[in-house]
Structures are given as C-alpha cells and as structure tokens.
C-alpha cells in the first residue's frame, strides 16, 4: 500500500496530493506540463522534502512532518523511480547495470527471464552507449524491477520514443508491473498513455488533484469543466443554444459524489455563469440522435483531413466546436447537424452538473 498525503511548495503554487494506491494497483497521475506531477513522485522518492504531510509504503512511514518527525533517505526507501532518461551507468555493462541494486546481481534466473521478456538478452555484455533509445529504456526497466522495490514510480518514461515503441513499452510495463503486486504510479501528460497503463487516473492541475476515477470515467464524467478541457473536450456550448432548458441544468445537484476541484472555479471564468455542455471531438455522431446526447447544429467554418478522419470547426450558438467525423463533412458555410454523445453539462463554477440525458429526463 502506498499512502501519500503531502503538500510540497513550488515557486508558483503548492502541490497538494492525497493518493492511496493498493499493492498491484496502477495509478496514473495525469495533467498538463507543470502541474506538479513529477514533484509528487520526487517527494515519494525522497528527492524533494514536502512542506507538510505523510508518506508510507508497505506499512513503513517514509516521511512524516508531524512529530515524531521522520524522513527516510532515498537509498533506504525501497522506492523505484524510472524517468524519461534511462540513466544507465555508462561505465558499466548492461549486465552490471541490471545487477546494480543490492542483491540484484544474485537474482540470476530472474535477470535472465526479464532480459528475455524485454528482448535484451543479446545485449547483456554491451555498454549502454551502444544501445538504441528503446533498448536503453528496456534495460532501465529491467534494472528497476530487479531492485525489488516496494513501490514503483514511473515519470513519463517513454516520452522521447516514437509512438510505436512507446505503445509497446507501455504495454510491457503494464504487464511486468502487474506481475509484481506492488503499488505503481505513472506520470503521463497524454491521456491515452495514462489509460493504457492505469486502473485509476488522478487528474492533477496546478498542484491539486481534481479528480480520481477509472480511465474511461475521466472522459465520460469529467468532474469539472477544467478536467474536461484536460481530457480533450474542445467545445463548450451554452445549454440554451443546445435546446435544453437552462433552468433544468442549473437546478441539478452536483453530480454523483464528484468532488469540486479548486481548478474548476477560476478556470471556467466568464463561462461559469451559464451552464455549458462539453463537446468532445471524438464523441460526436452526424445527424440528430436525441436519445444519445445533445443535438447541435450550425454552419461549418472549416474542415480538414486529420489522420484517418476529418476534423471540422462548427459554429454553434456563437461558440466554435471542433469535431471529428469518419466521413468528409459538408463544405464551408453549409449547415451540419450532429449529436454530442453523452455530453456532460457544467454549471456554476464549472463543476459537472449532470449528463444531458439526465437533464432531459
């Protein structure tokens, strides 16, 4: 069990995180760059002292700022940290790197198994300088796992790699970490990567945890307008323009045990007064399907090819909404009717009020 409840001072804001990760559970800390994700990991690893709080791993208190104070140094925490740089020791061979942690060199069969699983068995006698980026990351992962840590911290380990290797390595990472039955925390600034790894996603914004939810739920039920923006919602349409009674939305109860995030209020700004429906570019269908969500309609402002689909900017009630469609959208100026599937509605302060279908009901 990894229990974290800390505040760490940073120059612009204080990072406050309260997380609890069970053995075998995989949590992703997701948020924009500079949100304080890495700071949380560094505090757990003992590289950054928290201003206040408590960190415990596997029943051992690593940090406690209240009396009796306690701060276990990094080398006695048994907490593994994998960073974007593989940080292999350049003067040691791959085998010596794998066996670096105390006792790791003696785990011969485990080392051989890991090397085979990671496809680095042919590189054991090579120097780190001779490895490609992907190979170096595999060696770093094997070295981390061989250290038999009580918790694993993964700080955007594969950000620098090409998408193919990244997907492959994230899947490997997930499988290998799952087999360890230790708490694991991955920091990611890309939602898809966080989802590919984690059972739970904690959304971090400007130092605050604004939502903790399963990977699909952060997209389907973002706790606030700010979370919605972070997970990819790119259009916020006033509910009146969507043809819903504004009073219905405004009267709704704050939804389903979702906590109100501190980021919601200031980020939503002027839009906070009127309830708005969030439109995710990938959660739209052409045509009117009132049973699925909110039906919207407006002239196409621009459209372009985007990957295997098309992207169109559509003006709806004075706001521009960006949507992806599998087929080519109508030309510029023509009217397009589409349905924002399961669109969440955000009320006063930007927090989730309820889903469109609930409003309708």
């Amino acid at each position: 069990m990894l229990d974290v409840d800390i505040e760490v001072d940073r120059r612009e804001f204080t990072v406050a995180a309260r997380l609890s990760v069970a053995p075998g559970e995989k949590l992703a800390l997701f948020g924009p760059s500079g949100a304080g994700k890495t700071t949380v990991l560094e505090a757990i690893a003992g590289l950054v002292p928290p201003k206040r709080g408590r960190i415990a791993v596997a029943g051992r208190t690593l940090t406690r700022t209240e009396r009796p104070r306690r701060s276990v140094p990094p080398w006695r925490r048994r907490v593994g940290l994998l960073r974007q740089q593989p940080a292999l020791f350049p003067h040691l061979s791959v085998r010596q790197n794998l066996g670096y942690a105390p006792g790791a060199a003696a785990r011969v069969t485990e080392m051989a198994d890991l090397a085979r699983q990671l496809g680095i068995e042919g590189l054991l006698d090579a120097r780190p300088a001779a490895l490609s980026g992907g190979q170096a990351h595999r060696v770093a992962l094997a070295r981390l796992l061989l250290a038999h840590c009580d918790a694993l911290l993964l700080d955007e380990p594969y950000t620098g790699l090409d998408p193919g290797s990244r997907r492959q390595l994230t899947a490997l990472l997930r499988d290998l970490v799952s087999a360890r039955h230790v708490p694991a925390v991955l920091v990611a600034h890309e939602l898809a990567e966080a989802q590919a790894f984690a059972d739970q996603i904690a959304v971090l914004d400007r130092g605050a945890v604004v939502q903790v939810a399963p990977p699909d739920e952060v997209v389907l039920r973002p706790a606030s307008r700010r979370v919605a923006e972070l997970v990819g919602y790119r259009g916020f349409v006033p509910v009146a323009a969507a043809g819903l009674p504004p009073s219905a939305a405004a009267a709704g109860e704050p939804g389903n045990g979702v906590r109100r995030g501190p980021a919601g209020a200031p980020a939503a700004g002027a839009a906070a007064a009127l309830p708005v429906a969030g439109v995710h570019p990938e959660r739209v269908r052409t045509g009117a399907h009132p049973g699925d969500g909110i039906v919207l309609s407006g002239p196409v402002l621009a459209s372009r090819a985007s990957g295997a689909a098309w992207e169109a900017d559509i003006s709806v009630g004075g706001t521009v909404v960006c949507c992806r469609f599998p087929g080519r959208p109508p030309g510029v100026g023509e009217r397009l009717t589409f349905t924002a599937v399961g669109a969440p509605v955000f009320g006063d302060g930007g927090r989730l009020v309820r889903h469109a279908e609930e409003v309708r009901a």
């Binding site: 590289l47 593994g80 020791f89 003067h91 670096y100 120097r127 070295r143």
Partner: protein, 286 residues
C-alpha cells in the same frame, strides 16, 4: 550558416546547391588550415627538442649522467613528485568534489583562492612561502618543534611543488566531478546505495578520466616546479635546479643531459593518462 562561407553571392535559388557543395569545399579548406596550424604548433614544439637532441651527443649524455651523484636529482624529483601527487590526491580530490557538488558554504571564496594560487607567479609563491613556513613563522616554529624544517629541505621541496601544482589539480578535479550527471547519482541512491557507495561506484569511476588528466597536469607542474622551489628549496636539487645550476656553472652542454632526462621523466605519465582518459571517455560516450 553554410551560405555565409560562400559570401552570399548566390541568390536564394542557389541555396540547395550551396547546402550540397558549399560545406564540403569549406570543410576541405578549413581542414587544410587546421592541419597547417597544427603543423606550426608541432614545429614550434619539436624544433627545440630536435635541436636539443642534435646538440647532445650520446657520449656527452652518458658521461654527464654517469658522473658520481648525477642521478641524485632525478631520484629527488621523482620522490618529491610522487609525494606531491599523493598529497594532492588525498587533499585535492575531496576539495574538488566538495566544490563541484556545491557542498561548501560561500564557494566563491574558495574558488577565488584557488584561482589566485593558479594566477600567482611561482616566484611570488616562493616568497609567500618564506613568510608562511620559514623558520621565523608560527608554522616554521611548529615544524621546528617536530625537528622538521621547511627551508632548503626535502619537505620544503614538496611544499613548493604542492603549491605550484595544487590549483591545476583542484580545478581539474572540480571540472571532472561537475561532469558527472547528478541524475545518475540520484538513480544509484534510489537503487539502494548510500552516499559513500554512490561516490565509490558511480561518481569516482565517472570522474576518473578527468581526474587522471588533472593528475597528469599536476605531475608535469610538480616535475617542472622551479620558481617557488628556487626560493625555499634550493637544496636538495631536483632536476629543474640541477639544470639551472649546471647551466650557471658549466654552461649549456652539461645542462642538456638533465633537460633530456626531465623530458623523458615528466612526459610519459601525462601522455599515458591522457590516452587512457580519452579512451575511457570514448567508451562512455559510445
């Protein structure tokens, strides 16, 4: 910036051609210049050495070095040089590490002191040493109470050599430790190594090539130390003073054999250290 070398005479349409042909021509011109420049340096270096070899007949060298007591200065130089290196390794290495790790309070004052030592003319260092460890100073009195003296003794020679060589070693050691990526040290700590073991297993091995280069420079400075030595350690003679007195008393021909010996003794260690550290660096970098 390849277009700049072509004088900008081509229009924008020639940019592709410039990119393709310009750099190669520029490269060949600059490499020719570079070879010529290196040639000038080698001529300036080797010319005197060749002249030195040309002026010293084997017979003169043999008879010069086989005179009774002629090898004494060589032994003195080697012993004092070795002792100097030992002192620098023991004291200078931790200082360089502390400076690089930023563990010293007010590091600027330390750095300024080392820089001053580096910049002071050796003769002035010698004069300062007289006022520091001479017989009438507290340090001199302390040494006297131990039946030691730092004037015209082997100890004085080592002190002078340490003073002349230390700043070169400390600056080099600091640079060597600064070059070690702190993330590697963090990683070693997170894998379970306490600070001293990180130092032994990661920091020192990675700083070793730089330390070797610094040590080689310090050795060359110590072997050639003359300015401070002539003031506080006129006796016993090391090689530089032997060269100086031979030159003064019997002229150039009798000084030449010692000059050759000094070159032969002072150069191999730095060269070997340089080659080893260059190889180690290449291996780390790949």
């Amino acid at each position: 910036m390849s277009w700049a070398a072509d004088g900008g005479a081509f229009g924008p349409s020639a940019a592709g051609d410039t990119a393709r042909y310009g750099p190669r021509r520029v490269r060949s011109v600059s490499s020719a210049l570079s070879v010529a420049g290196a040639g000038v340096i080698w001529l300036a270096l080797l010319g005197p050495v060749i002249a030195l070899l040309a002026h010293s007949s084997p017979h003169a060298i043999v008879s010069g070095l086989s005179a009774p007591g002629a090898l004494g200065p060589l032994v003195v130089s080697l012993e004092s040089g070795a002792l100097t290196l030992a002192v620098l390794l023991v004291l200078g290495t931790p200082l360089g590490w502390l400076l690089a790790a930023g563990k010293l309070p007010v590091p600027r004052i330390w750095e300024a002191g080392i820089l001053a030592m580096l910049l002071l003319p050796p003769l002035v260092i010698g004069l300062l040493l007289v006022f520091m460890v001479g017989p009438d100073t507290p340090a001199g009195a302390l040494l006297g109470s131990l039946h030691l003296s730092a004037t015209n003794t082997f100890l004085a020679l080592v002190v002078a050599e340490v003073y002349e060589a230390a700043p070169y070693y400390v600056v080099g050691a600091q640079a060597a430790f600064s070059g070690v990526d702190p993330r590697l040290e963090d990683q070693a700590a997170l894998l379970g190594d306490p600070p001293l073991r990180v130092l032994r297993r990661v920091t020192l091995p990675l700083a070793a090539p730089g330390l070797a280069t610094a040590l080689a420079v310090a050795w060359a400075r110590a072997m050639g130390a003359f300015g401070a030595v002539i003031i506080i350690a006129y006796h016993p003679y090391g090689l530089p003073l032997q060269i100086w007195t031979s030159l003064q008393e019997t002229g150039l021909p009798s000084a030449l054999p010692f000059a050759l010996v000094l070159l032969v003794v002072a150069l191999p260690l730095p060269l070997a250290a340089y080659c080893w550290s260059a190889r180690a660096r290449r291996r780390h970098r790949g």
